[in-house]
């Protein structure tokens, strides 16, 4: 679905190349700002040996389970998944008897790097709170690659993640999808060709921050939920107009319109090139956003913190969007008051796309456990979902929401070898990620301190990593 959405936009191809060069058709394509990426990915897979993991319980990530299964990794890709695979010559063979193998976990809601550790004042780069519409900011410009949180997430089996700006604003800015590799710059982490994303927010946060969060009565707009919706609509109307001007120009009519960073992002979302990720707790608000998206012709890729998704799981399934959820967070504010432990399995059971997300530098370290809690609570409520199916909440569904599911998120030949070897059933509290491969390269080994990254900030400190 996401893929179609992207390809139909045409310009998505440009994005996949990272940046668009001149193409000699009279108009330079780098004048097309909606998709232009002046900060392209410089990520390249690290060297990997051909590797055969055998005798494992393999969850392929798309609903299949193979007992006594094998996964073959060659050239950074998965080349085979099955039972009787032969190692290619020179391949490293790992006997994973008693262990489980899954696709790497993808967290589609993280603020690592933007709200890094240590959480000192100078590191509060996660939210451009200066106005209710800051679609012009890109969170990648806030990401500090030296955040030790990336390494702890890696130890929890996170191979890709989306960094989002915070939720103060109606439009918080662009998110970015990263490969979870230590790097000197964010460009060295950017998932090559991943679509850009746009963070939006419903509910309490925007109206609190702008309406009555600043000590004066009344503050600015929005002051209420109806103010929120008016704010979205006003911005989308402006963006539609901007998009029309650029479309005309691209059709050869008129002067080149002036660039506007804010509207570039919004127009990209209307165009389908930029995927909309929307913080929205309450069921009734999500229902309004579904209609709002139809009014302006864009699609919500995923609702985030969708604490009440279970109340409208049927509507979410019909529309075809995902819900990114916690297993059991609830009650810390009014819009989280109706959180229940069975939210994720109830959404899944309705045929909607369910995702386990973290929004936390602690939670991201064990999203498998969060899935397990939800899975078992669902089971007790009579929703019996096989583990292999539930694993979609952790890899394939978040990959879909980020438009990268054709390339990662499951163990299928041709896909990136983003793979985790677990010490035991990862739905157990006692299981640990033992080896984490990203594009076939072993980036973390729990049993080998030499293959455990330590960020610059940690060097020379009393800790130097998690377990020194």
């Amino acid at each position: 679905m996401m893929k179609k959405l992207l390809l139909s936009a045409g310009l998505g191809v440009c994005l996949a190349l990272g940046a668009c060069g001149g193409s000699g058709d009279g108009k330079k394509k780098d004048d097309v700002p909606r998709v232009f990426d002046p900060f392209p990915s410089t990520y390249a897979a690290y060297p990997s040996a051909p590797t055969l993991i055998t005798n494992a319980t393999v969850l392929d990530g798309k609903g299949g389970r193979i007992d006594g299964g094998s996964v073959l990794i060659e050239g950074g890709k998965i080349t085979a998944v099955g039972t009787d695979l032969a190692a290619t010559e020179g391949a490293v063979t790992i006997n994973a008897a008693g262990k489980w193998v899954t696709p790497g976990i993808i967290d589609n809601h993280s603020h690592l790097g933007a709200y890094p550790s240590p959480g000192v004042d100078a590191h509060g780069d996660g939210n451009e709170v200066s106005g209710p519409v800051t679609a012009e900011v890109w969170v990648e410009h806030s990401v500090w690659p030296q955040d030790p949180g990336f390494t702890r997430a890696l130890a929890g089996g996170i191979t890709s993640l989306q960094i989002l700006p915070g939720s103060a604003n109606l439009f918080g800015g662009r998110g970015v999808v990263l490969k979870n590799v230590p790097a000197r710059s964010v460009q060295e982490m950017k998932f090559p060709g991943a679509p850009h994303t746009l963070k939006m927010a419903c509910g309490e946060n925007p109206k609190r921050v702008y309406g009555y969060g600043r000590g004066s009565f009344p503050g600015g707009a929005p002051y209420s939920r109806m103010g929120n919706v008016a704010g979205y609509r006003a911005a989308w109307i402006e963006a539609a107009d901007y998009k029309k001007k650029w479309d005309k120009f691209l059709d050869g009519e008129g002067e080149q319109p002036a660039r506007n960073l804010e509207l570039e992002t919004l127009a990209g979302a209307l165009n389908g090139d930029i995927l909309v990720h929307m913080h929205c707790y309450r069921a009734d608000e999500m229902a309004i956003i579904l209609d709002l998206s139809k009014e302006f012709g864009y699609k919500v890729a995923s609702f985030h913190h969708a604490v009440e998704a279970y109340k409208i799981a049927d509507k979410l399934a019909d529309y075809g969007t995902c819900s990114s959820m916690w297993a059991d967070w609830w009650g810390f504010k009014m819009e989280a008051y109706d959180g229940i432990r069975e939210n994720i399995p109830m959404v899944h059971n309705a045929g909607a796309c369910a995702i386990v997300h973290s929004d936390s530098d602690i939670g991201i370290q064990r999203l498998n456990q969060e899935a397990a809690k939800a899975w078992s609570d669902g089971k007790r409520a009579g929703i019996d979902i096989p583990i292999e199916e539930a694993w979609q909440w952790l890899s394939l569904n978040p990959a879909k929401s980020l438009g990268i599911d054709a390339r990662t998120g499951s163990l299928e030949p041709g896909k990136m070898a983003d793979v985790v070897v677990w010490s035991a059933n990862p739905f157990s509290v006692y299981a640990q990620a033992e080896q984490v491969y990203i594009d076939g390269a072993l980036m973390y080994d729990r049993n080998d301190p030499a293959i455990q990254p330590v960020m610059d900030f940690e060097l020379g400190q009393p800790g130097e990593g998690d377990r020194k």
Partner: protein, 419 residues
């Protein structure tokens, strides 16, 4: 419906149990928390609010039975804010702290306790039968008085008011004291002097260095060593300073909350018999006071002989229940299972002097939880919870919401008619 499903699953042959009637609770494994260890096919008999016997063999005839995979003592949350805020983000529904109050050490969290608060049942459903509840420090480093309660949700569930004083040092204490650690220590020492010279300073006027008359009075038992003091601190140097202070004031009864870098001073903590109430999830240099945080902190502290209680410091009001998951993770990072169980039962009971709680032993209070699996495992849940021998309802506002929306069919009537 859900309830009947659970009953079916675990073969819970429970005749309607009136308050504190005799029940035999059978577990494939019974973790006692005593020298009896973990019994296989154990039987715990309770009557009249007390545990009568803990052993193996046949259950007494003619007694209602609960059968489950695991049986444990009721879990104890050693540090929570459960029941003193319904919605932390709403000022009107949050009694955890009072930044605008002229008082500090005298603030008694029990005055804000509401047994009807929805997090109480939510916490009970996960096997926690007792909670230590601490106020939050908002105006000064002296947060006030904490209390002990059960999770029955009944009036009178506070069983020990003013059970401990809570104070905050380290970065938070510094900021609450004007901006530095020296300011925090000046305030703490000044407060001790206020109490010690109470008569001279307050008899004729309110003239303490740090505390108001009422605060000084409330802080008095702590200073005299008659009341437990919980002290929040994380950094190694803060922990050393607290231990130095304790050495200067040996009568003090203290326990540390946090101790993210505690493993670096584990031997000294053990030698001084100072227990630690910690969150084993803390493994990030999240501040300059946590640079040595490690997921092995619990294991290393315990190995040195420090009594360790495990809690969730991240969301202590609504998610105190996650302490069992956190303890399970500590096991995965080297803490022995038995020690992890004690971190949720016997150690909190010892820290707070809760006699007859945290263990399954004849004569102990009948706080018993029957589980459908290993209590530290994330996929396990309680099937029955007893507090003082009373079989507690396994229902919360959350389970009612779940049951309402399990089917979204509203062709005949809106879902609001399902209740």
């Amino acid at each position: 419906m859900i309830r009947s499903l659970i009953l079916g699953l675990v073969a819970l042959c429970l005749a309607p149990v009136a308050a504190a009637e005799p029940v035999a609770i059978l577990g494939e494994k019974v973790w006692t928390g005593t020298a009896q260890g973990t019994l296989t096919n154990g039987v715990v008999v309770i009557d009249n609010g007390k545990i009568v016997s803990v052993g193996t063999g046949a259950a007494p005839a003619g007694m209602p039975q609960v059968k489950a995979e695991w049986v444990t003592p009721g879990l104890i949350s050693a540090f929570s804010r459960t029941g003193i805020t319904e919605v932390p983000g709403e000022k009107s529904a949050n009694d955890t702290g009072a930044g605008g109050s002229p008082f500090s050490a005298a603030l008694s969290a029990a005055d804000g306790f509401n047994p009807d608060a929805t997090p109480i049942a939510v916490t009970r459903l996960e096997g926690f039968t007792r909670i230590a509840v601490a106020p939050d420090a908002r105006a000064k480093l002296f947060a006030g008085q904490g209390f002990l309660a059960d999770t029955s949700g009944q009036p009178g569930s506070v069983f020990k008011d003013r059970a401990f004083a809570f104070i905050v040092l380290g970065e938070r204490g510094a900021s609450l004291s004007g901006g530095s650690r020296p300011a925090a220590w000046a305030a703490l020492r000044g407060a001790f002097d206020d109490v010690r010279f109470f008569t001279a300073r307050y008899m004729t006027h309110n003239d303490g260095n740090v505390l108001t008359r009422m605060d000084a009075q409330a802080f008095m038992p702590a200073v005299k060593g008659e009341q437990l003091i919980l002290i929040e601190a994380r950094r190694t140097s803060d922990l050393e300073a607290i231990m130095d202070f304790k050495q200067e004031n040996p009568m003090l009864k203290i326990a540390i909350v946090g101790a993210d870098e505690g493993w670096r001073v584990a031997d000294r903590l053990a030698a001084m018999k100072i227990p630690v109430i910690m969150d084993a999830f803390s493994n990030l240099p999240a501040s300059f006071s946590q640079l040595a945080a490690t997921s092995e902190n619990a294991a290393r502290l315990a190995r040195a002989g420090v009594p360790v209680a495990i809690v969730n410091l991240d969301d202590a009001s609504h998610q105190a229940r996650l302490a069992a998951q956190i303890a399970g993770n500590a096991v995965a990072n080297g803490l022995p299972f038995d020690t992890a169980m004690k971190a949720l039962t016997t150690v909190p009971a010892e820290i707070f002097g809760m006699s007859g709680l945290g263990v399954l032993a004849p004569g102990a209070r009948a706080d018993v939880v029957a589980w459908d699996g290993d209590p530290l495992e994330i996929t396990s849940a309680p099937v029955a919870v007893f507090i003082d021998g009373v079989s507690e309802p396994m229902e919360s506002r959350q389970t009612k919401l779940r049951d309402r929306y399990l089917s979204l069919d509203h062709t005949d009537r809106p879902l609001a008619y399902k209740h």
